[in-house]
Symmetry: C2
């Protein structure tokens, strides 16, 4: 079974088991909507890939760790989409949870998914107490204070925030949890796998910033232009679009280089490259560069008229 | 040190340790506001009291369990107060988190507190892996699907809900987690302690319903009349006020009777009675009964004029 299929199948079975019997039907439906309406499943895939590289001698624990990571990710999306934050109507091309159900149910779905992530681990880890506690610790660090994804999101509420710290927390933290969890689930030291998660996580956030400016809503599955609209820190604004794309490429390269020596090094490197192309397709960059170049030529002939894109590209680095 | 002081002191030290260094200042302040603006600390007290009855041979683990329960409780209050639910301006006589800070920070504070509860346990349980996993399981059941407090709150979003199931989940579940956690933290079987948590939890919810009708905002520390305003299932409406008060008294009696034989039985029984008086003061009931009686007399003389209170009291049981 491929990694993505394995992740998807584990999500289905663990969700059902962890929901138990007799939960309020609307809440359960809203949580299902949050989890099972698409999604690249990159965090669980990363976890499973690293576990495979580490021998994967406890595959059920690996699956549970992968599922817990995705549930936390989905919880953060449900809450981020709510009117208090992005007020987004669509996610992954489907109505967001608060639109499809209600705001109260979106709020509770996020809470329910966070707790369900722990329940999934607890239900799978009976035979591996030590590894289980390691997985819970990695997950908790990836989500909570001081520098998990909840803290990352909260940097948006501060008047000043360090861009790198914000990105490490908002996206990087759960990627680090993903690579570390793959190692822990297989009884390995997570330390050598931190780099892969950190570089890929930062690349993911930079890609999100790039796509927020370049992409259209149909490609993103959510509205574009949210960073400017919500005055969020963004690489595309800090480095300019050209700079952000170069930075993204350098992070992908570092992610590839950080993979420890193991029999699965090529498979992991391939996963990183595929993910890179999915995140920021080369065709998209080429198309942007053509446009910018054309815009520069026009700008030269029409004096000081510049497009919004080229303004951002010329922003201070 | 008394139980309340011990709970309060543990909350302060564990919160600080679990918040770590470098979290976004506004988020940390909002979470502190959620936890340290009063509160009866009944769940942590109950946990510590049961642990004491069970020998309390790992007091640091007991303290962590007590703190984790209170953090979950505070998280639920922050989210319940938000505009999507009660839209409450005050809690414990202070501005609610979304009023004192903002809606985004209230949303994230709740999420952060849920995850912090697990972090507190993980930081304290290193030497007691088996008990730690038991505590996490009890906490997770008390909060998540299918019948923890998140599910309880979600029953309010259903078109039909069983009152007893709703109350067991909305309030009872975390009380059961509290008594069970006290036993687990001390290496005891939690089963004999479930009853105490369940009866006291249900009594607490019935008391909340009674006070929502009888109490004024200054006594409650939050607005009264919320059950009717939000069309929530309520004992006071299902049983009438007289019936609800009798039901409350019977639950307190059952809670006292359920305490297993132990050297601390009297102390625990005393705690239950004190809590009962705090929740539904006898003076409040007497005052209500006088008013109802007067209202009935007036009603007899002025034909069909009845007060809102007596209408509720006469509601079908």
């Amino acid at each position: 079974m491929g990694i993505l299929l394995r992740a998807e199948s584990a999500l289905k079975s663990h969700f059902q088991l962890a929901a138990g019997v007799g939960a309020p039907p609307q809440l359960q439906a809203a949580m299902q909507h949050a989890v099972f309406t698409g999604g690249a499943r990159i965090r669980p895939q990363l976890c499973i890939a690293v576990a495979t590289a580490c021998g994967d001698d406890a595959p059920e624990l690996t699956n549970a760790a992968a599922v817990a990571l995705e549930l936390m990710h989905c919880a953060s999306l449900v809450h981020d989409d709510m009117p208090a934050f992005d007020n987004a109507d669509f996610r992954r091309g489907q109505p967001t949870v608060h639109k499809a159900f209600s705001e109260p149910l979106a709020l509770l779905s996020g809470d329910g998914l966070i707790v369900m992530a722990y329940r999934v681990l607890l239900q799978a880890g009976a035979g591996h107490a030590h590894r289980l506690l390691g997985l819970m610790d990695a997950l908790t660090r990836g989500v909570g204070l001081p520098d998990g994804i909840v803290a990352g999101q909260a940097w948006e509420c501060e008047t000043t925030a360090d861009l790198a710290q914000y990105q490490r927390a908002k996206t990087g933290a759960l990627f680090v949890a993903a690579t570390c969890s793959g190692a822990i689930a297989s009884g390995h030291d997570p330390a050598p796998w931190r780099g892969l998660g950190a570089f890929l996580g930062e690349a993911y956030q930079v890609a999100d910033d790039i796509r927020d400016v370049l992409g259209d809503a149909s490609n993103l599955g959510k509205p574009a232009g949210q960073d400017v609209a919500n005055a969020r820190p963004s690489s595309a604004q800090a480095l300019g679009l050209d700079g952000a794309i170069r930075y993204f490429d350098s992070l992908i390269e570092k992610a590839g280089q950080s993979i420890p020596d193991c029999t699965c090094r090529d498979m992991l490197a391939q996963l990183v490259l595929l993910e890179s192309e999915r995140l920021v397709p080369k065709s998209m960059c080429q198309s942007y560069r053509k446009k910018t170049s054309a815009s520069r030529t026009t700008s030269r002939t029409t004096s000081r008229t510049t497009s919004r894109t080229s303004k951002l590209a010329a922003a201070p680095r």
